[in-house]
Symmetry: C2
Subunit: 261 residues, 2 copies
């Protein structure tokens, strides 16, 4: 056990609901002796990974981490491109847009563009949600062959709501539809009343894959608006796929993509 892994464990303690940690937090969260916790936090602060909050005994991530974390977006330039596309669409339609990446069976939001509507979907960057029960997750899972999806979910899963896939077979059936149509959709899955539409695109040179998603209250969007969102997302993702020469890109089905005469 290197001190490096202990330090990373500390970083993993931070979340959208825990912005700072203390020695005792580490003792209870990680079960480490408090002598270690005390020295580790001080060492991480001395090295510049953490900052103390005011003159208290609380530690939070440092400016350095903020800077390095920011570079992730540019290093993974696919994210930047996708973010630009989602930002533009979010601006046009006024609904919340975000982009996410998959880590195993989890989806993590990377960037978000809040909508303008009074009734808007609020997303939290950095939180993990289940891939199988979200449109972003299924848009990304649809890029995998069924075998690999089966392997990922060998342990089964617990559906969070009635409209989410109830078992592996239903998930695979929905992924098959996603592959045919070129987009994924969710309704009342993680949050009631919320609908979301996602497409995915990858960059074979870096191995990155991201989902582009627009999320909106189901009640206030007309069928025409919904179709326009699907088309915008599909077109944006197709442009990126052309740039990266993504071999696994799933284009919109022609019957959806064709614009009215």
């Amino acid at each position: 056990m290197s001190i490096l892994s202990a330090a990373v464990d500390v970083l993993r303690c931070f979340s959208s609901t825990r912005h700072d940690v203390t020695v005792t937090d580490l003792v209870s969260l990680l079960g480490m002796p408090k002598s270690n916790a005390s020295r580790l936090l001080r060492a991480m602060r001395d090295e510049g990974l953490l900052e103390t909050v005011g003159d208290s005994k609380r530690y939070r991530p440092s400016l350095l981490l903020s800077q390095v974390g920011h570079i992730y977006r540019f290093a993974a330039s696919l994210i930047d491109r996708a973010d630009a596309v989602v930002g533009r669409i979010s601006d046009e339609v006024g609904h919340t847009g975000y982009i996410s990446v998959r880590r195993g069976t989890d989806i993590v939001g990377v960037t978000a563009h809040p909508g303008r509507h009074a009734l808007r979907v609020v997303t939290s960057i950095g939180d993990r949600i289940a891939a199988f029960a979200s449109s972003t997750g299924r848009a990304l899972l649809a890029r995998l062959p069924d075998d690999e999806v089966r392997r990922l979910y060998a342990g089964g899963f617990v559906p969070p709501s009635d409209t989410a896939p109830q078992d592996l077979d239903e998930l695979l059936a929905r992924l098959a539809i996603n592959r045919r149509e070129g987009y994924a959709e969710s309704h009342d899955e993680a949050v009631r009343g919320v609908r979301a539409i996602s497409v995915s695109v990858g960059d074979p040179t870096t191995g990155d894959e991201v989902a582009l998603c627009i999320s909106f209250p189901a009640a206030i969007v007309t069928p025409e608006e919904r179709l326009a969102i699907i088309r915008s997302l599909g077109e944006g993702a197709a442009e990126i796929a052309a740039l990266t020469r993504d071999p696994f890109f799933i284009p919109l089905h022609p019957s959806i993509a064709e614009t009215a005469p």
Copy 2:
């Protein structure tokens, strides 16, 4: 020398111009034996601090760092409040807005809102500029007593242009004006043709201090627009200062703050 400090040295290698590193990069940048560089990068990747780019030998910051770095903004909630204010003003006037923090004699950009104008100031998050030669820097230095400024610049400084303070006395004189007027301004300092206006505010409970800045091409802003920007920044900062009960807040001079009848 703990491996922690070596790992942090690696993180410091990343910049807006270096999005990923290799073993040889570390050997030349940090002068470490390549055996160490090789193991260190692998260990950092295994722990989740870095990711390999595709299947190449290049390493970039990981999603984890992106997530933790994001938390910095919320942990330092002053930054979030200031960012909201600057974002709104940037939207209104169409010019680039950003917020920065001070680390010693350096200023680091934390968030930015690009302007809408065709001619716009582009800032890069995470890069360091000299505090004495920027409006954001002087807005933050103005919060310190002269003694402390003298101590910071005991080693003197090299002015980057004719319009920047040429020596410590001129810097102190300009800080005195900033304290009286309630804002700081730069013109042709870091970048020719660029003007910037900054105010600063702090949070005594966390010890954080940030500068709010609007930056614009000198040629296209009228005196009335400039005054409106100063007033917007001053009012926004004053609202934050009231929330945090900032004891060192410098309000706008009444002759500037008063709006036309």
